[in-house]
Amino acid sequence: MIYFNAIVVISYLLGFILCLIALIKNKEKLNNVSLYIIFLGYICHTIVLFFTIKNDAFLSKGQFYFGLAGWSLILLFLVMIVKIRIQFLSIIISPLALLFFIISFFITKKVLPVPKIMGSLWFGTHILCLFFAISLITIGFGASVFYLYIHKQIKNKTNQKFLKESKGYSLELLDKINHYAVVIGFPLFTIGVLSGFIWARFTWNKIFSFDIKEVWSIIVWILFAYLFHQRVAIGWKGKKPAVLICWIFLLSLMSFVIINSFFPTHHSFR
């Protein structure tokens, strides 16, 4: 098991470094190499995750969730690459996945038996949909950071040196990633939140318990719903959705890392 863990860490790290070099030196081929390495790491990551679930006696909540966060992030990233060439985004995606993976070892050492209630269909839907949605938000965030940077360069007109290096991405492409993240991510997020409420209804006999995590999630959902509406109905493109998805990402990250770890909530990892 330790070998698999090591391979995951090394390949995500290597993927990140190669992608960084590719971006600085403007060598697109390196991006593809980094992608293969990340894919290798991802396979090992899957194996690690599989054994974590199988030996559920060893499951610690934090370890599992952080592992799952990194895993779903890479999964959606790889799926998305099939449709759009966004290899360069691994500069943001792979360190995040690596971070989640490493955190998963430190978050808690306490081994808890899995309660029976967690095995239900609603709970599974709740977890998977939300993790996929947040992974999409993360990819959208990565694309938006790129978008805002290039957008600033083009609008400011000060430094035109950037014109001389051809890059594999354009504003339109980056906006398209944002589009997918919102259009697919929001329904997933909604299903995730709803299934959570339904599960709560069955488990605790109440839908909403004013838990800080729940309130926070509703706020994020409202923001996300606004973005979804503006994109789909009004046709927003470019800078505004880019900025908005960055906020949604930051709020989600805070919810995941800070609230779950340090606040007394029934989502707590402790």
């Binding site: 290039i150 083009i154 609008k155 007109k157 051809s166 009004i234 046709g235 470019g238 800078k239």
Partner: protein, 422 residues
């Protein structure tokens, strides 16, 4: 007799566009010229939007240039007086040097822009098909193409084609994911705008629309780009569907304002738009750039790119000039050999003829000979008469020069002494 290379023409520097249009040789072929001018041996006509040039080869003839101009004017049905002040005329080395410079795009409006080479190749191909070229122009044209290639590889002249159009295309690529699905529009038509449109077309833009105050001119341009022409009144409707706009009208006020664009971008559902305003004064309100998803660049914004480019270009152009001078020399060495070759050939043929006559005569004598002594004698006669016949020409030449032409023969005498090493 020595042949000369002539070049007459007008270009974007010497003549305004109205003149170039009137004297363009769009439907007129080099065959039309050569049919009317029997004294012209070879001819190639180059006619593009920026230049009209006629290159021809003929024997020394004082009025030949004027005759060609007369035919040119009559073919275009224009008055000769109109073109005369704009014409440039080159002969021999100057003509060769000029055509090399044209081929390597040193004479182009945007130096280094390789389009002209293709146009020159087409012009030459047309002339070859009409059989109006022979050895000299064939050689000259092929040299011109290889000089252009040499300059392209040995200098960075087209390397750094960081012109406005280049920057426009690069910016467009940074904004749009796939130019193949994008539409470009020209508002008004300056030459720089046309060039940028050409670059965009080469980069794969799906279609080009042309909008102009006069629909006629728009249609004319549309033909060149395989585009579609629209009147200026439809401008705002067009803006909803096009993605890249190159504006270069002569309007005194802005024609697209902030509020107009605010409405249009909403109608477009915020699809991004890229404006290149190369008009002075500007056609597009600079505030438009503050709108989301609208990117506006004007001449000043691209100045850095262009300025840097110009400096680099002029340095490279100097190197290119040196290459051209070198190549002109090479061409002339070949041309000289061309007139020497037939001379040598003729000289040898003449000597051969003399030899044959003399051998025929002495063969008769030898056939009658019975012993070796007589054969020896016959051979001696043969050798002596050969020498006499051969030296007859230079000797008669000198005597005639002295007697009949009454010129100073000393020059010729020394020449003969040189030749025979006396």
């Amino acid at each position: 007799m020595v042949k000369h290379i002539y070049l007459i023409g007008i270009n974007h520097k010497s003549a305004p566009v109205e003149i170039r249009e009137k004297f363009a040789l769009n439907t007129i072929t080099p065959r039309d010229f050569i049919d009317k001018l029997t004294e012209v041996d070879e001819i190639v006509c180059l006619s593009t939007c920026n230049r009209v040039e006629i290159i021809f080869v003929t024997k020394e003839n004082l009025n030949i240039e004027d005759k060609v101009i007369d035919v040119w004017c009559s073919l275009c049905k224009q008055d000769k007086k109109m073109i005369l002040p704009y014409l440039y005329r080159y002969k021999d080395r100057e003509a060769v040097s000029h055509i090399f410079a044209v081929a390597s795009s040193l004479d182009s409006m945007v130096v280094g822009e390789p389009q002209i080479l293709g146009q020159l190749k087409d012009a030459y191909k047309a002339a070859v098909e009409l059989k109006t070229t022979k050895s000299i122009l064939n050689r000259l044209m092929h040299r011109a193409f290889s000089v252009a290639k040499r300059i392209r590889t040995e200098t960075k002249i087209s390397h750094s084609a960081v012109s406005i159009s280049y920057a426009a295309v690069e910016l467009a690529k940074r904004i749009f994911a796939d130019l193949n699905t994008k539409y470009a529009m020209l508002i008004g038509a300056g030459e720089m705008a046309e060039l940028a449109a050409m670059h965009l077309k080469n980069a794969g833009v799906k279609d080009i629309y042309l909008v102009n105050r006069t629909l006629e001119r728009a249609k004319e341009l549309a033909k060149r780009f395989n585009g579609k022409a629209y009147p200026l009144s439809e401008l705002f409707e067009m803006l909803v569907s096009v993605d890249i706009v190159i504006s270069s009208t002569g309007a005194q006020h802005t024609i697209i304002n902030y509020n107009d664009m605010k409405e249009i971008i909403k109608k477009r559902k915020y699809r991004p738009m890229f404006f290149i305003d190369i008009a002075v004064p500007r056609d597009i309100d600079p505030d438009v750039n503050n709108l989301d998803n609208v990117y506006l660049y004007d001449i000043d914004d691209l100045k850095d790119v262009v300025q840097e480019n110009l400096e680099k270009r002029s340095r490279e152009a100097e190197i290119a000039r040196c290459i051209i001078n070198e190549e002109v020399e090479k061409f002339y060495i070949w041309l000289k050999a061309l007139s020497l070759d037939p001379t040598i050939k003729d000289l040898l043929a003449k000597m051969d003829e003399i030899a044959k006559k003399e051998i025929k005569k002495s063969l008769k004598n030898i056939n009658n000979c019975s012993d070796k002594e007589e054969i020896k004698k016959a051979m001696e006669i043969l050798a002596r008469s050969l020498v006499r016949k051969m030296s007859h020409y230079p000797i008669m030449f000198l005597k005639n020069k002295a007697k009949r032409d009454r010129v100073d023969v000393r020059e010729y005498i020394s020449l003969i002494r040189d030749i025979f090493e006396l």
